[in-house]
């Protein structure tokens, strides 16, 4: 961003941002919270979800706050009837077609905007498909996928540069897929889990979390999160260990971290088991 400053108005509040900043940056600076789903500061905006749209005075259509650059003199309304109506519709489309049971942010937005997904009938069309369990580390449940593209971006040029997944199909049939829909072990996947790290709905989930949820033992309120440093290489990635009953059940990494912006590799994300494998569990700890 250059040193040049731009002044614009957000809900009547004057803010000044650096040239190159987005409307979302300006909105945040004004102290206003805006819902986002497909946006993440470490990823390139793709304008997929449309839940962050705001009204720009003089523009014909609502504009996505996450991607549109701020311009001098813009007058933005983040909470007009038109904005609220649009967001509500977007949330209803998502909540009626997708299983949002493990997407707390999406649930909160639905409540905030009064979304009524049941308006679309008792049996709306959904994106449901069988859960994909094809490896020991993570589970893909695309019935929970809102097609925000974050996983594709994290797998691609925004982080991992592995390109194991992309969006396949068109329109309502669009879905995240490996090449020719092959199982992960046959794909280019290197199990960095950066897709899990950015997934906002729990469609991509650690196997450990999936299994604990399935047996009704997942207890997020009891879990403690501790930041530490990965034990493997010399990069120094920060790991956030999610611990339940003295067991690591999930590993994330803080996105604002200076070293790797929340991205990890297979060893950092999944290689922790050795500290909690007990011989009596029958796991192979001899290798």
């Amino acid at each position: 961003m250059s040193a040049e400053k731009l002044a614009l108005t957000i809900d009547g509040i004057e803010v000044t941002v650096a040239a190159g900043a987005t409307i979302l940056d300006a909105v945040t600076q004004a102290g206003i919270e805006t819902p986002t789903l497909c946006f993440l500061q470490s990823l390139t905006p793709v304008n997929a979800c449309r839940v962050c749209v705001v009204e720009l005075e003089g523009a014909r259509v609502l504009v996505p706050a996450c991607a549109r650059r701020a311009e001098a003199g813009m007058k933005i309304n983040t909470n007009s009837e038109r904005v609220r109506h649009s967001r509500k519709m977007v949330l209803e489309f998502l909540a009626s077609t997708v299983d949002i049971s493990t997407a707390p942010a999406l649930q909160e937005y639905c409540a905030e905007y009064g979304a009524q997904p049941q308006r679309y009938g008792p049996k709306p069309a959904t994106v449901a498909q069988p859960v994909k369990i094809d490896n020991a580390l993570y589970v893909r449940d695309y019935a929970k996928c809102i097609l925000c593209y974050k996983c594709v971006e994290a797998c691609g040029t925004d982080a991992q540069n592995t390109f194991a997944i992309a969006v396949a199909g068109r329109g309502f049939d669009a879905r995240i897929s490996t090449e020719y829909d092959v199982p992960l072990p046959d794909s280019a996947c290197v199990y960095c889990g950066n897709c899990i790290g950015v997934c906002p709905t729990g469609a991509l989930m650690f196997s450990s979390e999936y299994e604990l949820r399935a047996s009704n033992q997942w207890n997020e309120t009891e879990q403690k999160q501790t930041d530490t440093i990965c034990s493997y290489c010399g990069v120094g990635c920060t790991l956030t260990l999610h611990v339940q009953e003295n067991e690591i059940v999930k590993v994330t990494s803080p996105i604002e971290n200076a070293v790797t912006s929340g991205h990890l590799c297979i060893k950092g994300r999944f290689g922790f088991s050795y500290v909690q494998n007990r011989p009596e569990e029958g796991d192979d700890v001899s290798a």
């Binding site: 490896n135 020991a136 580390l137 040029t157 540069n161 992960l184 072990p185 996947c189 290197v190 199990y191 403690k224 501790t226 930041d227 530490t228 440093i229 990965c230 034990s231 493997y232 290489c233 010399g234 990069v235 120094g236 920060t238 260990l241 611990v243 003295n246 067991e247 690591i248 971290n257 200076a258 070293v259 590799c265 297979i266 060893k267 999944f270 290689g271 922790f272 088991s273 050795y274 500290v275 909690q276 494998n277 007990r278 796991d283 192979d284 700890v285 001899s286 290798a287």
Partner: protein, 506 residues
């Protein structure tokens, strides 16, 4: 990768065509152990084309004329013959490096696990000095560390010639300072590094060993010999989170907690960033924190040590090491770690080193060139052992597999010997066939994986699956006299087919 997408040029120098090589502007697939020939040829080409940074060389370096004379014989033609890298690629690398406004040289064990490791490093440093690519943001020479605290271990004085903070163990002033702080008399002479210790065991001058968090019974080169020496010790103490193969040889084992999640402390990454590890789990069974074990041991030896907390130990280090003085736990927490040197609590930590070389006049000593010569691997290839074995790591595994063996990686295929398509054909080997690999020191049986990224004559394997394939039975313990590192990257082997499983892959 962000740099590459932003237009940075990448040259990969590696005998194997790695996944990094696929992103590179140039892949220089050199013959194992010809790094100095390549570096000197790059230096000579830079000089021949007049691309050196004359001003920097004149103001900040020593020994340039000797260097120029030493690299003179390393013509592109000679280098192509010696390194097997096409001359035009060497030329392209030389020009790209010299012409870049900022350029960095990064390396890892491919440079340092050789009998002439230090010379390899010096050959690269020469290039940085020649072009002034050092002491400025975005430039420099950068050894990438393979463990979370390789850098920190050295910085904390866990090397025989240094006190914490890079202070020389034979410097009278440093000795006086640490003796006063510790109220103890310290040896006047530096100690032994790992390879020195094994040599001392061989001479029966070392009969007691206390090993903390290391598995030399499986990680040392020429494993059979290393194990004989470990078995010959009068007393071996092993402190580890697992009962490793080394632990099985020990008289006494201290079960330790995992330092990164069952206790707290600091580690230092490749970029000299000191970072905080925090306790997330209660350790199992009788396992205790490393510091608690050492304090207890000290008490048993008659010293009146309380149970120090990690933060107390760290604050003592800060009081003795100027590099670390400004790094309180609170600041380390707040700033996501701090790179040393950090002299006081207002200091942000240095982002890069050696800026003094650009001061006017140069602060401190000038940086010396080192005239170094190509010296091939100790073990030459011959008719009996005609293939070059180089060892390394795979993405999902780690060293002897003690840690990484514990999770269910879908990428894990067990140990394999990667071999070029041509050598596989010549030996009548197909994917998955089991083969006997022999060196002058031992032999192992290992399944074959055909890798088109390898040139004929080169084979590759790891040492992640020691219980299946003890790769270090093959490797040679020829060590660099200065660093003590063994030549894990180059030994001579032969490969023989032993059977063709009818089901294909093994």
């Amino acid at each position: 990768m962000r740099g590459i997408h932003n237009g940075a040029k990448l040259f990969v120098v590696d005998p194997r065509q790695t996944s990094s090589a696929r992103w590179a502007d140039g892949w220089l697939g050199l013959d194992v152990g010809s790094d100095i020939a390549l570096a000197n040829a790059v230096g000579r080409e830079i000089l021949a084309a007049g691309l050196e940074n004359r001003e920097f060389v004149a103001r900040a370096t020593d020994g340039f004329e000797e260097y120029r004379a030493a690299v003179e014989p390393y013509t592109l033609e000679y280098a192509e013959k010696t390194t097997l890298v096409p001359a035009h690629l060497i030329r392209e690398l030389a020009h790209a490096y010299a012409n870049a406004p900022r350029a960095e040289l990064c390396w890892t064990l491919g440079i340092t696990e050789h009998h002439n490791a230090v010379d390899n490093v010096r050959a690269l440093i020469n290039l940085a000095l020649l072009c002034g690519h050092v002491g400025r943001y975005g430039s420099g020479v950068n050894p990438l560390r393979g463990q979370n605290n390789v850098q920190g271990g050295g910085d904390m004085g866990a090397i025989p010639n240094k006190f914490p903070g890079g202070q020389d163990a034979e410097d009278p002033a440093a000795l006086a300072k640490f003796e006063a702080a510790w109220n103890a008399t310290l040896p006047r002479k530096r100690g032994w590094h790992l390879s020195d210790m094994f040599a001392a065991m061989e001479r029966s001058e070392l009969d007691t060993l206390y090993v903390i968090g290391e598995n030399p019974a499986q990680s040392e080169a020429d494993q059979k010999h290393a194990n004989e020496l470990l078995r010959g010790l009068r007393h071996l103490i092993v402190q580890d989170i697992f009962l490793t193969k080394t632990g099985e040889l020990a008289e006494v084992v201290f079960p330790a907690s995992a330092s990164w999640c069952e206790s707290e402390g600091t580690v230092t990454s490749s970029e000299r960033r000191v970072q905080l590890c925090r306790k997330a789990l209660e350790p199992p069974g009788e396992a205790r924190d490393d510091i608690a074990i050492m304090c207890e041991l000290a008490r048993r030896l008659g010293y009146d040590w309380p149970d120090y907390t990690p933060e107390q130990v760290w604050n003592e280090c800060r009081s003795l090491s100027p590099w670390h003085a400004g790094m309180s736990y609170a600041r380390l927490d707040e700033l996501d770690g701090i790179p040393w040197p950090c002299y006081d609590e207002q200091h942000p930590g240095e982002r890069f080193l050696h800026a003094r070389l650009w001061e006017n006049p140069v602060g401190g000593q000038r940086a010396p060139f080192a005239a170094v010569a190509h010296d091939p691997p100790v073990e030459a290839l011959d008719d009996e052992y005609p293939l070059r074995l180089t060892t390394g790591r795979r993405l999902d595994s780690f060293n002897t597999g003690v840690q990484s063996g514990g999770y269910r990686s879908p990428m894990r295929r067990g140990e394999r010997l990667d071999i070029s398509p041509q050598d596989a054909r010549n030996h009548g080997l197909r994917e998955g066939d089991r083969a006997r690999v022999s060196s002058r020191r031992g032999s192992v049986v290992v399944p074959i994986h055909i890798d088109a990224g390898l040139r004929a004559g080169l084979v590759f394997t790891t040492f992640h699956f020691n219980d299946e394939v003890a790769t270090n039975l093959l490797t040679i313990d020829a060590t660099d006299p200065q660093s003590g590192t063994a030549e894990f990257k180059a030994c001579a082997v032969r490969v023989e087919a032993i059977c063709h499983p009818s089901t294909g892959s093994g």
